[in-house]
Symmetry: D2
Subunit: 145 residues, 4 copies
Amino acid sequence: MFETIIVPRVSETDGAGHINNTTIPVWFEAGREEIFKLFTPDLSFQNWRMVIIHFDVDFIQQLYYGKKVTVKTWIKEIGNTSLKIDEEIHQDGKCCAKGSSIYVNFNFTTQKTERIPELIRMELVKHLYPMDDKYQPDQEPFGMA
Amino acid sequence: MFETIIVPRVSETDGAGHINNTTIPVWFEAGREEIFKLFTPDLSFQNWRMVIIHFDVDFIQQLYYGKKVTVKTWIKEIGNTSLKIDEEIHQDGKCCAKGSSIYVNFNFTTQKTERIPELIRMELVKHLYPMDDKYQPDQEPFGMA
Amino acid sequence: MFETIIVPRVSETDGAGHINNTTIPVWFEAGREEIFKLFTPDLSFQNWRMVIIHFDVDFIQQLYYGKKVTVKTWIKEIGNTSLKIDEEIHQDGKCCAKGSSIYVNFNFTTQKTERIPELIRMELVKHLYPMDDKYQPDQEPFGMA
Amino acid sequence: MFETIIVPRVSETDGAGHINNTTIPVWFEAGREEIFKLFTPDLSFQNWRMVIIHFDVDFIQQLYYGKKVTVKTWIKEIGNTSLKIDEEIHQDGKCCAKGSSIYVNFNFTTQKTERIPELIRMELVKHLYPMDDKYQPDQEPFGMA
């Protein structure tokens, strides 16, 4: 699991007095930085590989300005060319939002997806969701080529 | 269906050269304004009713700065207290992103969900997804109280 | 003058119930699209020229969600390599924010500023601030090389 | 001086490959949190006091994704009801952006500005810009009532 501490910003709230729902994907994306780094060690856009093809969010409790949040990020499933990530946002000891995202390992030069390299798989495996033995390296678990 | 024309902004792109994925929920939320107005005619936060509990997005094609996009917004299902909305973003004649969201009709004073009033239902029905006869007014179709 | 109509978004408000101050530069940048197009007709980042070196904003009245705003954009001064732009945001018939920005015409390949071409100057002059005869094409009015 | 460490986000970059200019006011606002807390100790919007009336930014060097930045925040001048704040953003040992902002101490109930209380002044003075003896508590230094 990766943990990222985030300090909510005034500009991330909305008129209803809480954190706006569109801020949550921004925080979740921030939580994935260590995974981006596995694919693009210098984090440069010239060498970028990770392309998102899906995300979903469940809003469980309102999040507020004024208290730090923790983003928890796990690898949920590793496919041939793709990767499923699960995330949670906690504030004040409560899980306030849950989400998942699916990325593909994309070669921008050839404009094609590529198999996730073994060295990266070995790192990803260390961050698999606990109690979860779904690691099936040569299958695409969510219906992808 | 509701249609909303949006002009992409430089600040909505990212270093990979396209519209950043976190912009899509912002555009989808913008597409729901006419629905927010049914629940809160003056669009004031004092009278706000619509609370989001879920959204998901599928990214189909990259979206770019420099060309207008159209957000298409349909009512997908109307429950007792909740509402499912389906949306698409089109650019250059292609559907580039699809998403759905679930809202509840929330009374901030009592902090409870309330049945969607009949007058609002009558309006919502006019914007149901085409070819879709799932309107079951007294059932909660997505497992909600 | 260029005029851009913008529909405020829920995600652009903050917990104080109005449009957040950090939204204003986003709207002002949106108002400059026609100027960007003069320098980069296809609006592609490969051919991008306009680099911002300064902006300032004066907040005059609160701006709210629920009512359209108009961004008014003028050319204030044209230097050798640089350009000063003045902007206002109006809502409900009142000027709610004023700002100015300074851009340079930048060649990303040579990493140097370049003189604004004559053909672009001829277009820019048409959008000079009214009652303003400060157009001094061969002088850098704000202390720039 | 207050120092705030910020990790740049992919969503804060733009198609030109660097941090978008509209992100800078967001980071500067994040740098002011300890000052907001002096005026509103619980950081709740019900008790909010600080209203921004001006900001300006000078862009000195490009800022990039992939390396932490430090926001440095000083009190520049303390007026009767208002406050001038100076800020810098550093990355890789270089000052990349400078800015200042002016806030008033606003009572949302009476809709009037109020004198900054003595206890808050005593705290603010501790964070005055170094080498700066402009503290004139009973004068409004930037032409405000």
